[in-house]
């Protein structure tokens, strides 16, 4: 009796697992698609211009992508919970200045970076509190904090600026040095990316973020601490924007009150191109980071092959629309596959 029962129970289970791996594959394919576009683009440029992927060229590509990739990682975590943080550009700007101001006063580089991260996390906490306690759409709340933080920045910084000669040499060196073609900044970003990716994939609280994004109501009923999780996402996003601010300072050696102005839109583009759906609950930080690398690389590819930079924004826009189209098609396909599986399961039961 038990022997007959077992295959019946395991058959649908294995089918369901089959469906899950298929869906899994499709989402992985989504990130692979970005990677493929990136590889083709860089490869073609290399054929056209042999200097493009030289040691210096690779270093530049990585450095260009680092800051955006960091902020996009944080943004992806927030977007996965079906929210958004538009204040990242302002947070980056004010953290960069805070770090620079501290270094200018003779502070240690490590503490300056920590200060930037802490300041970013603080603003993240504010955003998270407003969004989760106020129950107001994140788009509006963070648009508000975008302006508020930029306003504070403008009043505090005024027309002052941090220039390269005000920074310790080691700190500026950290901004462009590295191991062979891999800059320290990129290594740091990679460590952060892997850590956040691991957290999202393997921790209960990480999985909760996906659950929240898929269906906030269901997640609440299932006992997910909604407020706490949203807070976590925003604090993480803010802290990463703060870290990116410190790295911005190291890399560009120049910060004023306009630093990071308008950056939020680039970040959101990177996240969407990387396959993190704005409807929440899907995508990964790896995808977002790849999206960031893709977007910044376009900015390097065009000048390297001699195309006017005026095209950059148009191309970014097309990529964005393509990404959304691909997501939509994938979603429809996955839905169709699931329906088919369900129908098969039903008919199997009838047999």
């Amino acid at each position: 009796m038990t022997t007959t029962a077992e295959p019946v129970r395991s058959a649908p289970a294995s089918r369901a697992a089959g469906a899950r791996t298929l869906i899994d594959k499709m989402f992985k394919a989504r990130e692979l698609a970005v990677l493929a576009v990136l590889v083709v683009m860089l490869g073609t440029t290399q054929i056209y211009n042999g200097e493009f992927l030289s040691e210096q060229g690779i270093k530049d590509l990585l450095l260009n992508a680092t800051i955006l990739a960091l902020v996009a990682t944080g943004q992806a975590v927030v977007v996965i919970t079906r929210n958004v943080d538009l204040s990242v550009g302002s947070v980056l700007g004010i953290s960069a200045f805070a770090a620079g101001n501290y270094l200018n006063g003779g502070g240690s580089p490590l503490l300056a970076v920590l200060l930037a991260v802490a300041l970013g996390a603080l603003f993240g906490l504010l955003n998270g509190a407003l969004v989760s306690l106020g129950k107001v759409p994140a788009l509006v709340v963070t648009l508000g904090t975008l302006y508020i933080i930029r306003g504070i920045d403008s009043i505090w910084v005024g027309s002052r600026q941090i220039t390269a000669d005000a920074l310790p040499e080691g700190f500026v060196g950290f901004g462009h040095d590295g191991i062979w073609a891999v800059p320290y900044l990129a290594l740091l970003a990679l460590v952060v990316l892997l850590a956040v990716g691991y957290y999202l994939r393997s921790y209960r609280s990480g999985r909760d973020l996906y659950a929240l994004g898929s269906s906030p109501e269901a997640a609440r009923l299932a006992g997910v601490p909604v407020r706490g999780r949203i807070m976590t996402a925003y604090v993480l996003c803010g802290a990463l924007a703060g870290l990116a601010g410190a790295l911005y300072l190291a890399r560009f050696g120049n910060v004023d009150s306009a630093t990071g102005n308008g950056y939020e839109l680039t970040v959101v583009s990177a996240v969407v191109v990387g396959g993190v759906a704005f409807t929440g609950g899907s995508g990964s930080v790896y995808g977002a980071a790849l999206g960031a690398v893709l977007l910044t690389s376009i900015n390097s590819v065009l000048p390297a092959i001699g195309v006017s930079s005026v095209w950059v924004t148009a191309i970014n826009g097309i990529l964005l629309l393509l990404a959304i189209a691909v997501d939509r098609i994938l979603a429809l396909r996955v839905a169709a596959v699931l329906r088919k599986k369900a129908a098969q399961m039903r008919s199997a039961r009838h047999d």
């Binding site: 200097e51 530049d60 390269a164 009150s257 630093t259 900015n299 000048p303 390297a304």
Partner: protein, 361 residues
């Protein structure tokens, strides 16, 4: 009945106001008001009296390309000092983005409504501000452009930071000296529409036609949009596209410091020469670490001061913006208005390792 009374009253009021205004205008001795009215729409007509008394109590507004931009803050602070010294009041308004043209237009409109006496504006776009500025001039507001000009008929005087010709030509001379008069060079500019950049670049191209520069080849003009990241990537692109590049001229303060920061952290440091327009504070680190030999700039303090003094001179009727008129600009000496209503500050200063520490801006 009551409606008619109100109407009659309004009419009486209007007539009275008009009479007072007309009397007022006559009392002024037919200097500013009439002149400004006459030349609305065209900037170079009207009578001026170089000896007219400098008016006090004027409201002078500065509208830089971008507020909180360190360069404009230096210029505007000097403008403020000059305005207050002349017994008038100063205010600064403007957009926090350097490319928010519609924002700049609405600031011009607001200032016109507030009935300021003069606007000193650095235009984000040569054409976009025209309607608003012409409207302002029609209302008796004197319009001075500084740093970046509009079309000539949309303002009375343009206070140029140094003649465009001098700036364009001296940057090429500087570059030629640094690369030994031979090799490929490129230009890293700001936005493709930036008026002043484009004028300088045209003069650079003119200068390069001279026989002594026959071995120098301008291979490309790239645009970094006055954004650090974009300027970085444009510099990288130039170096990749032209591996034999010997030098880059960047006639924008944002562009040159981004290019310098990139070069100083790359294998091109010291090998690819960089010159252009930068501020000593921005560039100090790169001059000292050997990335940059020399670069140039005018003194933004003087630019702001001259813009302020020109605005007051216009409103006082000492000048109208016609070619050949002269006016005294306080301690700065006497200036003459050139062709198209342009007043030029003079030759730029060259900064190098020897003198850079004398300048703090």
């Amino acid at each position: 009945m009551s409606l008619a009374t109100v109407r009659t009253r309004r009419l009486t009021l209007a007539v009275a106001t008009a009479t007072v205004l007309a009397l007022g205008a006559t009392a002024c001795g037919g200097t500013t008001k009439n002149d400004t009215d006459k030349k609305s729409g065209s900037a170079v007509t009207g009578k001026a009296d170089a000896n007219a008394e400098t008016k006090k109590g004027l409201k002078i507004a500065f509208l830089p390309k971008q507020v909180n931009n360190p360069y404009f803050t230096i210029a505007d602070t000097a403008g403020k000092k000059a305005v207050e010294e002349l017994g008038s009041t100063y205010q600064e308004v403007g957009t926090s983005s350097g490319t928010d043209t519609s924002g700049q237009v609405s600031y011009v409109n607001t200032l016109t409504q507030q009935q300021v006496n003069a606007i000193a504006v650095s235009a984000q776009d040569p054409g976009a501000l025209c309607t608003a500025l012409k409207q302002a001039m029609k209302n008796g507001v004197s319009v001075v452009t500084y740093d970046s000009d509009t079309k000539t008929d949309c303002r009375q005087v343009f206070v140029s930071q140094a003649s465009a010709e001098d700036l364009g030509r001296t940057q090429v001379q500087q570059m030629a000296k640094q690369i030994g008069g031979k090799g490929e060079i490129a230009i890293l500019s700001a936005a493709q529409t930036a008026t002043n950049q484009n004028t300088w670049i045209d003069f650079m191209k003119e200068e390069l036609k001279k026989p002594e520069y026959k071995d120098i080849k301008l291979v490309k003009v790239a645009y970094g949009d006055d954004d650090a990241q974009k300027s970085f990537q444009q510099t990288q692109g130039l170096l990749q596209e032209y591996p034999d590049l010997k030098g880059i001229i960047s006639p924008t303060t944002v562009g040159i410091k981004a290019a310098a920061q990139y070069l100083s952290g790359s294998k091109y440091k010291g090998k690819v020469k960089l010159t252009g327009l930068g501020t000593p504070n921005d560039m100090r680190a790169y001059v000292k670490n050997g990335t940059v030999d020399a670069f140039e700039l005018w003194d933004p303090n003087k630019l702001g001061e001259l813009a302020a003094r020109t605005a007051v001179a216009l409103q006082s009727g000492q000048i109208t913006g016609a070619e050949g008129q002269t006016f005294k600009a306080g301690g700065m000496g006497t200036y003459t208005i050139g062709k198209d209503g342009v007043v030029s500050l003079g030759k730029p200063t060259v900064f190098d390792a020897k003198n850079i520490d004398q300048y703090k801006f």
